[in-house]
Symmetry: C2
Subunit: 328 residues, 2 copies
């Protein structure tokens, strides 16, 4: 996209929406995966993204999109989109369509989150500020709470969630959002160097991060990379790479439960070598990751990185840490 | 002040500024208390407040203002002003005046904070949003970091501080900001019920919160109350009461060090009986209050109150907790 100054900018920073559904009658036949493909296509049209490929197992359908990813389990919907997509314009449509197509008539929790954009002025006006996004969501949901973690005038991470007990089953999400990437580590995510997604997954070392996962990877022309990985039980990892040096950005996200995330963090940093990153860990009381949040509080340096900010939040049923590091 | 709807609104919510000064030559004769009264009067004119009375001891000068309080020790300046005062318009003047009048040529840390206003549209345009306040401060300071604790779309607390090691001596600040006050507890803060400040201090039970302090108290006509209390060593407490039922608000602030604040919290709540309150505890590594922050994490109910939000932040040299409670 052309910026005001005329130079190309790609906004790698994703908008991330997770919605948990339920039916008031506890109808066990309700299942988001019964919704037909054309319905998802119509939803994604509103968002300005489209499906590129799909993998599935007994627990989850995982889609690579033209702009990031979508994951669908029985009760949980996750949509992550980057660039200038218009994710929040589709929330109302999503809720209505899910009610009509599969009978879930209740949203039990939502999580909308994103890092601050590098160039907010290039976004659709509804996404240009978090205040506007919050207004839109407040019009749709009772009990919505909006938070900013980190520094509002530097790097920060926004979250909108429902102030409710919400999800009772063990649930956790780990995110590592990285920027100012080492150009050398980014070279492999271009057609000039790698043949295809599979080749980039291997050359980069992504294949070693969580061994044994089922992978769907795409290398874009001339550069850029997306991958989804799934594991039995409804677990996923997803990685998206914007390799261009002037707007480099990589996101890593997973709901794989870990009693400690330190090993995973070191693996991901080893593959991507960012100049800066922020990390969020979300876990509810039932999750084994719950204890890992306290461990993270103690870590104020990581090989070659020093911590700028650390915050810990207690919600009704969830705990969250936000941490931001830079190369020392 | 008349609101758009024509009804009277008084904004009890204070703007709070704390600035720590130093001299690059380590000149031990520099002392903020050497600055003449007329210079402080001129500063307060910019803020739209004035001095009502003053007490002092060997370590501190404490002023009750027409709108809240001002505390001056050798190296530390604290200004807290409510209503529609224009505190941030005076920061540049303060820094220049201090340099000229007493030789401190360096700001080593600043803390600007406030709760969200009940009626932001009644404020001077520079104070109508935290974004605007941050822009103003960013123009003056390098390394300023802006944070929002709590819910941006409900009740929250804003903080701007320098990302520096700053103050090395033990330092802590405890604040309890209360609203939706019990009307019965507020009756005593009016001329109809109490004779003067001293009488209101006694009848309300404020005199028992920290026994033995030197108190300067004022009861306003027809209602409203301000008090400063000082203790040897540069310690203060300050309480401000806006008793009108439709905009009731009380603030309690102190830098008295405590290994645990639980007893103090219960005393303050006992006197004022708020419907809702938020609490912040700020402490640096050298402070004995440092450990109290972890204790507060465990407290999710307090007699009659339940917790809505709890956040813990680690800065370079300071730790902060933010907690918000409502009557169950």
């Amino acid at each position: 996209m052309a910026t005001a100054a005329g130079s190309y900018h790609y906004e790698g920073t994703e908008k991330l929406l997770e919605v948990w559904f339920a039916s008031t009658s506890n109808d066990e036949t309700c299942d988001l995966r019964k919704i037909r493909r054309e319905k998802w296509d119509a939803l994604l049209k509103i968002v300005r993204a489209e499906i590129i490929s799909m993998i599935q197992d007994d627990d989850m359908d995982a889609y690579v999109l033209s702009e990031s990813s979508m994951f669908i389990t029985k009760k949980r919907f996750i949509l992550k989109t980057c660039g200038t997509t218009t994710l929040l314009l589709a929330v109302n449509h999503l809720v209505q369509m899910v009610k009509k197509e599969c009978g879930f008539d209740k949203v039990i929790d939502i999580f909308y989150s994103r890092k601050n954009f590098a160039q907010p002025e290039l976004q659709h006006h509804l996404h240009q500020s978090f205040d506007k996004e919050v207004s839109l969501l407040d019009d749709m949901f009772q009990n919505g709470s909006a938070y900013v973690l980190g520094r509002m005038n530097k790097d920060c991470w926004y979250l909108y969630t429902l102030d409710d007990c919400g999800v009772e089953q063990p649930d956790q999400t780990f995110e590592l959002l990285m920027w100012d990437m080492c150009p050398k580590s980014m070279e492999v995510f271009a057609m000039k160097v790698s043949q295809d997604g599979k080749d980039a997954t291997k050359r980069s070392g992504i294949c070693n991060i969580i061994p044994g996962i089922k992978i769907d990877d795409t290398l874009f022309d001339p550069c850029g990379y997306s991958m989804n990985g799934i594991l039995p039980g409804g677990y996923y990892i997803t990685i998206h790479v914007t390799p261009e040096p002037h707007c480099s950005y990589v996101s890593f996200e997973s709901n794989v439960p870990r009693a400690s995330y330190e090993n995973l963090i070191m693996k991901v940093l080893g593959v991507f070598n960012p100049g800066k990153f922020l990390m969020t860990v979300f876990a509810n009381s039932a999750s084994i990751a719950h204890g890992s949040l306290k461990q993270l509080e103690e870590i104020d340096t990581l090989e070659g990185y020093s911590r700028n900010d650390h915050q810990f939040c207690s919600f009704k049923n969830y705990y969250l840490t936000y941490t931001q590091f830079s190369k020392s």
